[in-house]
Amino acid sequence: METKQINLKIDHIPVAVPEGTTVLEAARSAGIKIPTLCYLKDLNEIGACRICVVEVKGARSLMASCVYPVSEGMEVFTNTEAVRKSRRLTLELILSNHRMECLTCSRSGSCELQQLALEFGVDTVRYYTGRPQPQPETSTLHLVRDNSKCVLCRRCAAACRKTQEVGVIGPNDRGFQTHIGSAFDRDLNEVDCVSCGQCVVACPTGALTVKDDTQQVWAALADPTKHVVVGAAPSVRVQLGECFGMPVGTNVEGKMLTALRRLGFDKVFDVNHAADMTIMEEGTEFLHRLQEGGTLPLITSCSPGWVRYCEQHHPDMLSHVSTCKSPQQMFGSLVKSYYAEQAGIDPKDIFVVSIMPCTAKKYEVKREEQRMANGCMPVDVSLTTQELARMITAAGLMFTQLPDGEVDPMLGMASGAGVIFGATGGVMEAALRTVVEVVTNGEMKPLEFKQVRGMQGVKEASFELPGKTVRVCVASGLANAKQVLDGVKSGALQYDFIEFMGCPGGCVNGGGQPVQSAEIRSFTDVRGLRAAALYSQDQRMTYRKSHENPYVQKIYSDYLEKPGSHKAHALLHCTYAPQKKYRV
């Protein structure tokens, strides 16, 4: 059925758009950018901030263009004196209740409120500003909540409630007392926050920021007694460039490696390699369950946000979760065992840093069940892409001009299967590349599984293998995970292998990603572009299957014997347990 075309005039320009389009989007199609603050396409369309107001002929008051649908013959004016004045006054009001700490705020330069104030020439705030401001809340490992900088756009609440279905924060009280908080204003670490950081991604100001752990890394780098090892996740290399003005989806792996080297890390490995290890272990685990009648579906466990969600909200599904550690944790475990032995260094003197697109990894590194037999925690500090960018800038490195560097291959050389972990469906595809080959004894040597690619929230596919049909499902974003889990529990959905990622779109859209404005997030496929860069890299690589990676084969032949061995289990596996949702 064809959608009706609506004809209207925006600033005297005739525009024709499909019925149901908002004035905001219609204006964009005519090359007019109406400023917004609370708007996030498909996530938060509530017309609350009143920044996007426009004059509509015949309307009683100004209308919020982000939610106002077009109608035939409508006449809209986006840039009259009245509109500009209204936006300026609204901004002044918001600023009058905002702790202006711009000089030292980590969002200075990327803050959407700051940008609007600049655009609208707000140079004074005439209203009374001497209010006591709330103190930042720092109870969690991954973020800082500072309500004194909150503009009550509700984007964080929308992300937590709609995308993640956890709904741990939202508006409390009303009127001027409204503030974003959890149930009964408890600290975030007392309620069922899963550390996914999607709220941080959604926040336009410095109200929600990732906790900065760079000081620990600087200290370790400066400490002569410490052997500091670093490994970056697959997604980081397609995000990092954005922090230095490069287009979304630029693969900066070479420059990233050089930057890490120059920062002073003693060894620059790569978590992509550990991703290959994960495939070996998890693939073996899956085949074992498939062939021996174990608990199916098997569900991946590399996303600590998903794991925590499962432990808190669906503890009855824990037996389905893979016992494999995440690539980050496997990486650290191998560094402090295999590498330590090879290099002749005491693991206690090794300081392992991971660079992740993820905020939940900061929580994962502290989980007690990750502790190794030798007493060490596999990873000492997990930094986000943002924090690495800050370190690079502080070190005076001109990132865009850096030459390409090399990785230390022992725990750094990876196959294409490891690279694509960052996209939703990447883990599944990587696993299938190995699993199908093994199950068919080499007869089917698949390379690309396009069915599990793409930014859809839930994808499913089935593969006819000799003697078995393998049904898989890939979901990202916890609301989608819940949907799938409900289907599995009720029996309506039948799968053998499920990949869940806590963040919608996979790790490329993780909580630690570089800041991108609402405009970019609403109208550019940021996740798709970053994921595409990963798939491109995969295509160019020599080895594209985890089990073909010689540096993976070597670890098994030298050290772990075979995937799923006793030693592999001790080092690279762990168990999860139900957790209380509320710790009050």
Binding site: S86, Y127, R154, G175, F176
Partner: protein, 518 residues
């Protein structure tokens, strides 16, 4: 003298020797009223469906269901009557019913709701209808449901009205027992289920979209329109939402004819309106008058004038969303458009009368304090703007205001009117704007002279003991809660202005009129 004036004796006469009115019907208070919405209030037992039937209750519904009156005919009658929404907005009721009837629901479900979340301070019209004649609302809602093709209704009533809630519950139970509500009403095949939903102490939930969101179980905050509730309302289905008083008029219109209703009132405001008279007026209470009655009639005849011989200063209509009608506009007819034209609005019917002892700046501040408490907090202009407006008004009543502040206030008021998300924010500045326009000199006295002409704003008051009157009895000093008065027995007492908290206790106690207030 403040007797209820009788029609048998001339008004404004002091010292009566004539007959006294023994019946309410013979009083000035009652004489000017025409009770349509309140026709049964004060007459029948609200907890008896039989008594309701005895006053022609359920005749309209029975007729409609047995004759299978085409729904459009009912809607046309309501349109012809000229009835406008009594909740305050004054939208043509017939048109609202038409929009909802015309709207297409994807699964055929439509809702009919009643807004009984009467939140204006001083307003109790809806409460009285629900406590006195609940069946009239039930019958009207059932007819409305028939007209728009709905089978499920909700009455959203504020929890602070326990008696009204109880009487509604009793009414619903009795109506269901008689087969006049629920499945297969009067064996006609028409179903209409009705349930109550209680509010939780939020004025903003009287706003149409916020009310519906609250019924859905979410935070009661308005949402932008379009889409309008008639098209996409409760649970995203077409929804009809009308005020209690609007519903109370429906069966009268259908039983007596749209023309009868349209014959009352003015050209654009048909019928009657219920007002809750309060404030500085002799006869506080509930009155129902034809639209177009002048404010003078309400205050002097029905209301019985201002008590204690004080002078009428202004009347506030529309509660926190409305404006003040000053004394020189006392002959304004009360109808939707006349009130809007002078910067006020009809509102839901609260009418607060003020006299010379009321400070208009203080009144504006009072309404703003209410708004701040009740603002939902979703949109920035209302959430922050009302607070900042209040701070500016406090500056003025504290004696720290400047003329520039008055300009800032006006600018902020117009900003709220044009940019707020819902009517609460858009109309919040009305009391401020109307008092500032009509009583500017009072504001300027506060700013330029640091003086409150009405003697209300505490911080601008100045208590003094007159030397020629003080007898040194020490009564004031002994009672001063702030220890601000010093003086010896039989000697002149003085007030330390730094310590004085302007409570006025000294003036209350002085037997010699020696304490004066500026």
């Amino acid at each position: 003298m403040e007797h209820i004036r009788s029609v048998t004796r001339p008004p404004h006469t002091e010292g009566d020797t004539g007959e006294i009115a023994t019946s309410l019907n013979d009083t000035q208070f009652y004489h000017h009223q025409k009770r349509i919405a309140l026709r049964n209030c004060g007459f029948i037992n609200p907890e008896s469906i039989d008594e309701y039937i005895g006053v022609d209750g359920y005749t309209a519904l029975s007729r409609i269901l047995t004759e299978q009156t085409p729904p459009q005919e009912i809607i046309d009658a309501i349109k012809a009557s000229g009835l406008r929404g009594r909740g305050g907005a004054g939208f043509a009721t017939g048109m609202k019913w038409q929009f909802t009837a015309d709207a297409v629901s994807d699964d055929g479900v439509k809702y009919v709701c009643c807004n009984a979340d009467e939140g204006d301070p001083g307003a109790f019209m809806d409460r009285s209808v629900l406590e006195g004649d609940p069946f009239s609302v039930l019958e009207a809602m059932t007819i409305a449901a028939y007209a728009v093709d709905s089978h499920q209704g909700y009455i959203y009533i504020r929890a602070e009205y326990p008696i009204a809630v109880k009487r509604l519950q009793i009414a619903i139970t009795q109506a269901k027992e008689y087969g006049l509500l629920g499945q297969n009403i009067l064996n006609s095949g028409f179903d209409f289920e009705l349930e109550l939903r209680l509010g939780a102490g939020a004025f903003v939930c009287g706003e149409e979209t916020a009310l519906l969101v609250s019924i859905e179980g979410k935070r009661g905050e308005p949402r932008p329109r379009p889409p309008f509730p008639a098209v996409k309302g409760l649970f995203a289905r077409p929804t009809l939402l009308n005020n209690v008083e609007t519903y109370a008029n429906i069966t009268w219109i259908l039983n007596n004819g749209a023309d009868e209703f349209a014959a009352i009132g003015t050209e654009k405001s048909k019928g009657t309106k219920v007002f809750a008279l309060g404030g500085k007026i002799v006869n506080t209470g509930l009155v129902e008058i034809p639209m177009g009655t002048t404010l003078r009639t309400i205050i002097e005849d029905i209301g019985g004038g201002i008590p204690n011989g004080k002078k009428f200063k202004a009347a506030q209509t529309g509660g926190p969303s409305g404006g003040c009608i000053p004394a020189d506009l006392i002959d304004t007819p009360i109808d939707y458009d006349s009130l809007t034209a002078i910067g006020s609005m009809m509102g839901s019917g609260g009418l607060i009368v003020m006299d010379e002892d009321n400070c208009m700046v203080d009144i504006a501040k009072f309404f703003l304090e209410f708004i701040i408490d009740e603002s939902c907090g979703k949109c920035a202009p209302c959430r922050i703007g009302t607070k900042r407006l209040h701070e500016l008004l406090c500056k003025i009543t504290d004696g720290n205001g400047t003329m520039e502040d008055l300009d800032t206030i006006v600018e902020l008021c117009y900003h709220l009117k044009s940019s707020s998300l819902c009517a609460l924010g858009q109309s919040a500045p009305n009391p401020v704007l109307s008092t500032l326009t009509r009583f500017r000199s009072e504001y300027e006295a506060h700013v330029l002279e640091k003086r409150c002409p009405a003697g209300v704003c505490k911080n601008l008051l100045h208590y003094e003991i007159l030397a020629d009157k003080c007898k040194g009895c020490t009564l004031c000093a002994r009672n001063c809660p702030a220890d601000a008065i010093s003086g010896t027995v039989k000697g002149l007492h003085t007030i330390d202005q730094e310590k004085c908290i302007k409570c006025g206790v000294c003036m209350d106690h002085c037997k010699f009129d020696a304490v004066v207030r500026h």
